[in-house]
């Protein structure tokens, strides 16, 4: 790996947004393509950060500052990407179900998914079932990720499954569910496609679905 990319990874891990922008420009000036910088510095850096988090070596705030540094670098790169430069890793529509306003877990899932290069359309909280389907269609998403924190709202997840069936899009759309009261047994009961017990495995599950 080039020294430049190693330096960028180090700055990403430390959350040095301004410095990483300078390094990004320096990497471009050296002849590296935006795609190389994205994949070998930024995505590699976020992979390392993700692994550190998974192994309980860093906390969420440290992941967040790394994500911010990555976004700062992307501000420099984005105008330079050519069509086809960036592999489309997939789009996820994410939200907390209708009647439920808890969002900390959902926000964490979003961070993890974006760290893995997924495009996340965050619908927020208290989202009606049909809206998940409509937004997935609008944004070309293949995964709908649902969060619920209450036993009285998790039933809405089944409403989303049914809405996908009614729209004739059940095969095209994969439904991933998570949240404190949610279980694998519940997933099977309502016919969702995947269950994730935490934010990290939620992001992994989305990547696995989109690869497969």
């Amino acid at each position: 790996m080039s020294e430049r990319f190693e330096s960028m990874i180090d700055l990403l891990r430390k959350g040095r947004a301004k410095e990483i922008q300078a390094e990004t420009q320096a990497a471009l000036d050296e002849g590296h393509t935006p795609k190389e910088i994205l994949e070998q510095a930024l995505m590699e850096g976020m992979r390392i950060v993700g692994d550190l988090f998974k192994n309980n070596q860093i906390y969420v705030p440290e992941m967040l500052i790394a994500a911010r540094a990555m976004n700062a670098s992307l501000e420099v790169l984005k105008p330079l990407f050519l069509a086809g430069d960036v592999e489309e890793r997939g789009t996820v529509v994410l939200g907390t179900v209708k009647g439920d306003l808890h969002d900390i877990g959902k926000n964490l899932v979003k961070i993890m998914m974006e760290g893995k290069g997924l495009r996340v359309i965050d619908l927020g909280v208290d989202v009606p079932a049909q809206r998940f389907i409509d937004e997935a269609r609008t944004h070309g998403a293949r995964v709908i990720a649902l969060s619920a924190l209450l036993t009285t709202t998790m039933g809405e997840m089944q409403a989303v499954v049914r809405a996908a069936e009614a729209a004739g899009e059940r095969d095209a759309l994969k439904i991933l569910i998570g949240g404190a009261p949610v279980t694998e047994a519940f997933r099977q009961q309502i016919g969702a496609d995947a269950y994730a017990p935490d934010a990290t495995s939620g992001a992994d599950a989305a990547v696995a679905i989109l690869r497969g």
């Binding site: 009647g99 306003l101 969002d103 208290d126 036993t151 009285t152 009261p181």
Partner: protein, 456 residues
């Protein structure tokens, strides 16, 4: 700050079962008067709450209360508190909430007349303002219904009034994820304090008009959210401990405005309230594992006056329905508390609970009665709620650092650096409401945070 000195100034006086200002309920429970009573909280199994299912909802609550009171009688328990923590639909439509209180009250009356079992209902409506975005603390369309439930529920037999209020949460949630202590202090010591004043003036008024007891509040949505995030290893435990300490000034405002105790079970800041105000407190620990895990299972009992299970679904376990099972577990625990009191072993039992947990987590360390008194002294020395919060948090960090240094607190290596970082953040923080507001204002999203809803 209305409290400038401690009512309990000696750790030896901060014990379970005894509060300088006990509270006597209409059926004669004396909370903080020399006994510890069980407080049972419960909720429905997974189901929708609609007009079509109201009958089933009420059947569940009838079964819960009948089962719990029957078991209490079988175990020779003479006094219990039943917390009815409403679900959203019951607060949005207070008639349902009031019907359930009425039903529970009838069953409690029956148990009192038949067996002399003194069962009191704690009524805890939802803070439905939290179910609007952006939150509107003073102008929410849900406020009237919330107060209607308080008043109607109090008249129907809810003798202890509480709430888990959420003023300031819209700032704190994000601040927890970024470990931004300045924003945490702002959310609790400015926004939270202002909202508590607004809310509790009204609740105390309702309690006075209905002849009921304004119990207290909790910073559950702040301190316990931090605790759960720390349990999941998303944020440092040291940070979660500091959030707990900062939350004291917020929950204290309920008592400043006239609440009498006991505060809410999930308020682990309760021992601080007891030291500062002398009011009885409700706590939850190992017996709340049915609702959430925590590093505080034993230490939480050190100075409790009510001992709670937090909440449990009405589902069948091997031995019986879960609320009945919880009732039994709580009763056995409170028997031990009471037996320790009778045999003069209060300090020995308390110290067993403290020592078994305090060395394993900073959140447990700060619940050691010695730490509670130390930190409480710092809190009441503050000229205002912001300064009080900062001084309390700083003293707590000092105690944590000392315990790490002398080996009495086990702390992961990656946590240790956070002690200094957080101490620096506190030192740099403005110590007045105006100063803190000026510092955080540029970071606030006006779409999410409506300062006018806090009177700012």
């Amino acid at each position: 700050m209305r409290f400038d000195r401690l009512v309990i100034d000696d750790p030896d006086d901060l014990v379970f079962g005894r509060a300088p200002f006990p509270v006597t309920t209409p059926r004669g429970l004396v909370i903080g008067g020399g006994r510890v009573y069980p407080e049972l909280n419960f909720t429905l199994p997974t189901m929708s709450i609609t007009p079509d299912t109201y009958g089933e909802v009420k059947r569940h609550y009838r079964e819960i209360v009948e089962g719990a009171l029957t078991r209490a009688h079988e175990l020779h328990q003479d006094g219990v508190v039943l917390e009815f923590e409403t679900l959203l639909e019951m607060t949005l439509d207070p008639r349902l909430g009031i019907e359930i209180v009425t039903l529970m009250h009838e069953l409690c009356e029956e148990a009192f007349e038949k067996h002399g079992l003194r069962a009191e209902i704690r009524l805890t409506p939802n803070d439905t303002r939290d179910f609007e975005r952006p939150v509107r603390m003073r102008s929410s369309r849900h406020l009237d219904a919330m107060f209607e439930l308080f008043e109607g529920g109090a008249r129907a037999g809810g003798n202890l009034l509480s709430i888990e209020s959420t003023g300031g949460k819209e700032v704190c949630d994000e601040a927890l994820m970024t470990c931004d202590l300045q924003q945490v202090v702002f959310s609790l010591a400015v926004l939270g304090v202002r909202d508590m004043r607004f809310l509790w003036r009204r609740i105390v008024e309702i309690a006075r008009d209905t002849g009921t007891i304004p119990g207290g509040d909790t910073a559950c949505g702040f301190g316990n959210t931090a605790m759960v995030l720390a349990e999941k290893k998303y944020i440092p435990r040291v940070f979660a401990a500091v959030v707990r300490l900062v939350s004291v000034v917020r929950t204290l405002v309920a008592i400043e405005e006239g609440a009498l105790g006991p505060d809410k079970d999930c308020g682990y800041e309760g021992p601080y309230l007891k030291a500062i105000t002398g009011r009885p407190i409700s706590m939850e620990g190992r017996t709340a594992a049915c609702a959430h895990t925590s590093p505080l299972g034993n230490v939480a009992g050190a100075c409790c006056d009510l001992w709670s299970n937090e909440s449990v679904n009405h589902v069948k376990l091997l031995s019986g329905m879960a609320p009945t099972v919880s009732m039994e577990q709580l009763i056995y625990d409170t028997r031990l508390f009471d037996q320790a009191i009778r045999q003069g072993h209060v300090h020995a039992y308390r110290d067993l609970m403290v020592r078994s947990d305090a060395g394993l987590d900073p959140q447990a360390l700060i619940l050691d009665p010695v730490a509670v008194i130390d930190v409480s002294r710092a809190i009441v020395s503050g000229a205002n709620h912001v300064e009080a919060a900062i001084l309390g948090a700083s003293k707590g960090l000092e105690l944590i650092e000392r315990a790490v240094g002398d080996g009495t607190l086990r702390l992961e290596e990656r946590e240790v650096g956070w002690i200094g970082m957080l101490q620096e953040q506190l030192e740099a923080m403005p110590r007045t409401e105006e100063g803190l507001l000026a510092a955080v204002l540029p970071q606030l999203d006006p779409a999410k945070v409506r300062l006018e809803e806090y009177g700012l």
